[in-house]
Amino acid sequence: MRHFRTLLAHELRSAALSWNTWAAAALFLALMGGIHFFALVDGARAPNSRAPVEATLWFFWLPLLCVLPLLTMRTFAEERRSGTLTALLTTPASPAAVVWAKFLSVWIVWTLFWLAFAAFPFLAAQRLDGANARALGEASSLWGGLCFIAVSGLLHVAIGILCSCVTRSAALAALLAFISLLALTAAGGALETLPIESWEWLGWLREPAAHLRTFGHLQDFTDGVLDARPLVLYGTGTLLCLGLAVLTVEGQE
């Protein structure tokens, strides 16, 4: 991992100069800006239990499925297609350093996108008087939600990186990431809706279903509930995906 810092600096610089990143940022901010606007309008029309900030964060899956694959798809697939990955691996830089540098670079960009989104609620609050501004939602909910995005983002980005490792086509990598992230996000909810309690032979699914409830994790974070289980899930999932990505890069011929 001796070359990790050099590679990370290079990846961040490339991301900052890439049209792909800026297009993804524009799409992300347009999506989240639009969702937040409608959440504000909806909240003003019929105040409900969920504040506009929380209601907006509830749609985190939309940029997760539409924007994150755009960030991860080119990381390895494009380099494999052009052959620059082979050239990179002729240097003493290890495949692990390459994988971790690309992973961390995308994760930083993804987190920055969400930090940029945080400007929307602040801008909205500035334009409203005190009482109405409070109705937008607690700042702690926003920061809790962003922490969830950052923690779960580790696994989400790692999945995208792994998908990009297994193909030379960036489009296919994006599609694989989309399907994988959709499956992961929906799995917990889908399992929870199944009548597992009444099917004894499905009893073993109870525990995994409880761990995979992504929206439950978001709720916990926005409520300020600190549970170690999601941290372990996202942490181990990230290490597993990146380990597989390193093996894939090492095994490429």
Binding site: H3, L17, T84, T90, P92
Partner: protein
């Protein structure tokens, strides 16, 4: 140059290298070596297994069996250690399109463990050596011509002053001026770095290399110095003789100088006959043969020795069965 260390006997060692893709054998039982500071041409027809062998030596592909070592370090057991002594330029020389030449070389220098205080100096030096400073340093690699891209690839290979440089078709797509420039550059590496270079331009290899390794269908067919291979693969010296004499008289005159001489009629015009005279290698020189013919009273207009180039050696080597007549 890397820090002082005991000089290994061979900078590059391929020992019984084999690479199989399912039932297809790309490289089989291939053994050769490159001495420190030596420039070796790696030749073979298309699909012979040159690029596969080079990729195994560079550590970007694993062999099925056999041993590859760079500067005494096993490529399979210590890939990072081997890469520290090696620079490899792949066949199509893949480069990132969106980086400027200087940025790219600076990144590569850092990845190749060039000391931080020497990075700028090394980048400037290789850009000067490869004639990139004036016309390409600030340009995006994606905007460069094929020739300049090849120069960037070679500049990258020389950046960290490696002990071994492997160049896969470094002059492909270059014009004659550029080829000359690259050839001079490679020649300047003699004695400093061990260079293994593959090329289809045999004249270029002959001009630059100390010895050649020829493979065919994944197996070694010949290796050694060009002169030695010429003697081994083309065991005759051939002369073109234009004379008024008939074949029998010429043969008798030639055999007076060399009993194993052979004569073949080639053409006849205006009373002058053209013959090809074949003598075993090490036979009398042209002057001796000419003296014998004149001494026999033959009217002689021309006597010229036919020089066999690397092309002839290559054709002779690749025609024979793989594995036959290997040299070490």
């Amino acid at each position: 140059m890397n820090e002082a260390a005991p000089l290994p006997e061979a900078a590059v060692v391929a020992e019984r290298l084999t690479k199989r893709y399912g039932s297809l054998t790309a490289v089989e039982d291939l053994s050769f070596s490159v001495a420190p500071g030596e420039i070796v041409g790696f030749l073979g027809p298309n699909g012979a297994g040159k690029s596969t062998t080079m990729r195994i030596l560079a550590g970007t592909m694993s062999g099925t069996s056999g041993r590859a070592a760079i500067w005494g370090v096993s490529v399979a057991l210590d890939p990072a250690g081997a890469k520290r002594h090696l620079a490899y330029m792949p066949e199509n020389n893949p480069l990132p399109e969106d980086l400027r030449v200087e940025e790219y070389l600076t990144l590569r220098a850092r990845l190749k463990d060039v000391a931080p205080e020497r990075v700028a100096e090394r980048v400037r030096r290789v850009m000067e050596d490869c004639d990139l400073t004036r016309r390409a340093s600030g340009r995006l690699i994606g905007q460069l011509s094929k020739g300049f891209r090849q120069r960037v690839g070679i500049a990258d290979a020389l950046l960290a002053e490696p002990r071994v440089v492997i160049l896969d078709e470094p002059t492909i797509g270059l014009d004659p001026h550029q080829i000359l420039g690259i050839r001079e550059l490679i020649r300047s590496l003699r004695g400093k770095m061990a260079v293994l270079i593959s090329s289809h331009i045999l004249h270029e290899v002959e001009q630059v290399c100390d010895k050649v390794v020829i493979i065919n269908r994944g197996r070694l067919v010949a290796q050694g110095r060009t002169e030695d291979l010429r003697r081994e693969l083309l065991p005759e010296v051939t002369f073109t003789v234009v004379t008024r004499a008939e074949e029998a008289a010429l043969l008798a005159a030639c055999r007076s100088a060399e009993p194993a001489a052979g004569v073949v009629a080639v053409a006849s015009a205006d009373g002058w006959n053209t013959f090809r005279v074949a003598l075993p290698t090490g036979s009398p020189a042209r002057e001796t043969l000419a003296g014998a013919l004149v001494g026999a009273g033959l009217a002689l207009r021309e006597i010229a020795e036919e020089r066999f180039g690397l092309e002839d050696i290559f054709l002779a080597a690749t025609r024979r069965a793989p594995g036959e007549g290997r040299r070490s």
